[in-house]
Symmetry: C2
Subunit: 227 residues, 2 copies
DNA sequence: CTATGATTCAAACGAACGTATGAATCATAA
DNA sequence: TTATGATTCATACGTTCGTTTGAATCATAG
């Protein structure tokens, strides 16, 4: 029987790192785990990437560069079709979150593993990772924010930014893991509704997001209500 | 000038651990960080709590025992007032998420620090922490799930469970940090809308959650659509 | 073939980790 | 005051961490 075929060391490391960072987090994953799982020498990570920090940045870049270009293309298309008119909010949400969620079906782009990694990382404490993501993909966020401002001219911008934030959170949790869902359910839910049914998760999440985005505006109580 | 007053070592450790786990995560926080910040001896954690794992469990238990009892009390009160009739969904959501969010104002119960710790932990990878939370507070989740089932008899239970999950995610993100919000905004938002204005965050999030919970049910596409 | 640069390898580095130990110190009660 | 149990202390243990090193191996071009 053939040993673990060598092939491309770089790619093997990225695949193993993606899977292990997803399962155990950045701090919880050691270089020895990664190189062991990848079947390569311990020194290979530092040789090919320089450091552990540079490695996880490359793990993200490999997937996010494509994702965010795809998001931009989707929004370009929507705005071209609208021909100057504002784009429907639900279509903007789909261009952003739908494009992300549809990566789950594409194993060649990381599939569910990468989605769960991303979901967890956005809430993870490691400072430099979030800083990296925030800096690297700022322009995409700005594009979509502006599109939502135009699509919902009657809604205060601050409200839209907050709701964008809430949508990110709901999406991250939805993809971050089955484990968190166990907190809510005993899995009495019939099997056909399991987490694996991504074709059902996407419409479910989309309905929720649009419902939240279009909810009636909140009533703020007075700061110091009369006695 | 007086040295760091001794007082209650146990409490000092719990306070420091809560703050540091929030800022740097479980794996990213060392015993030496904690004891240093608390101004106690390194061995004090193992003496008072036994281990690092037991410490973080106590950090959570100290806050969550009260929170979940409070949630139960709120739901008890709502169901008593309804007198057999189903309780309004928005009131159930407030009993669960509102009770949580209002902890932010109560420094004696951990305030914003604990909320951010909780939000991050629910998405964090460390297996045993999530397992601990899921086991410890299962009964509360079940109570609220059942209440929502009764409040929304026309909505399939699977849909309600998913939307509960989405609401948890949106809430966690909302409280998990200002940093994640930076991903969305440049803080062009006027200062009075800053993250610190919790009195505004709560109604904002509540509107979003109710909007998502009550959104139209999703339409599932056929599994293999005709060509 | 040989030469050269890229890659892989085993081994080791110092630092930081969680935990354990036994003596010193404290508070309290007889 | 002395005795006793609780707590704090400095220190060290054994592991694991990310990274580095220099030799061995590989692929390719002359």
């Amino acid at each position: 029987m053939t040993e673990v075929r060598a092939g491309d060391t770089r790619g093997r490391i990225l695949d193993a790192a993606e899977r292990l960072f997803m399962a155990h987090g950045y701090d919880g994953t050691s270089m020895r785990h990664i190189t062991g799982e990848a079947g390569v020498n311990l020194a290979a990570v530092n040789y090919h990437f320089g450091s552990k920090e540079a490695l996880i940045q490359e793990v993200f870049r490999r997937r996010l560069d494509w994702l965010n270009e795809e998001r931009m293309r989707a929004l370009d298309k929507l705005e071209a079709e609208a021909g100057g008119q504002p784009v429907k909010p639900s279509l903007i949400v789909d261009a952003f979150f739908g494009t992300l969620l549809r990566m789950a079906d594409d194993e060649s782009r990381g599939g569910m593993t990468f989605l769960r990694l991303l979901g967890r990382t956005l809430a993870e404490p490691s400072e430099f990772i979030r800083a990296f993501l925030a800096h690297e993909y700022q322009s995409v966020m700005d594009r979509f924010k502006e599109a939502l401002f135009r699509a919902l001219p009657e809604v205060p911008k601050a409200e839209i930014v907050w709701r964008f934030h809430f949508m990110l959170g709901a999406t991250s949790y939805a993809i971050a893991g089955t484990d968190a869902l166990r907190l809510v359910t005993d899995w009495q839910i019939e099997e056909e509704d399991s987490i694996d049914r991504l074709d059902r998760l996407v419409p479910r999440l989309m309905s929720f997001l649009i419902g939240g985005l279009r909810a009636p505006l909140p009533q703020f109580p007075d700061r110091a209500p009369g006695s």
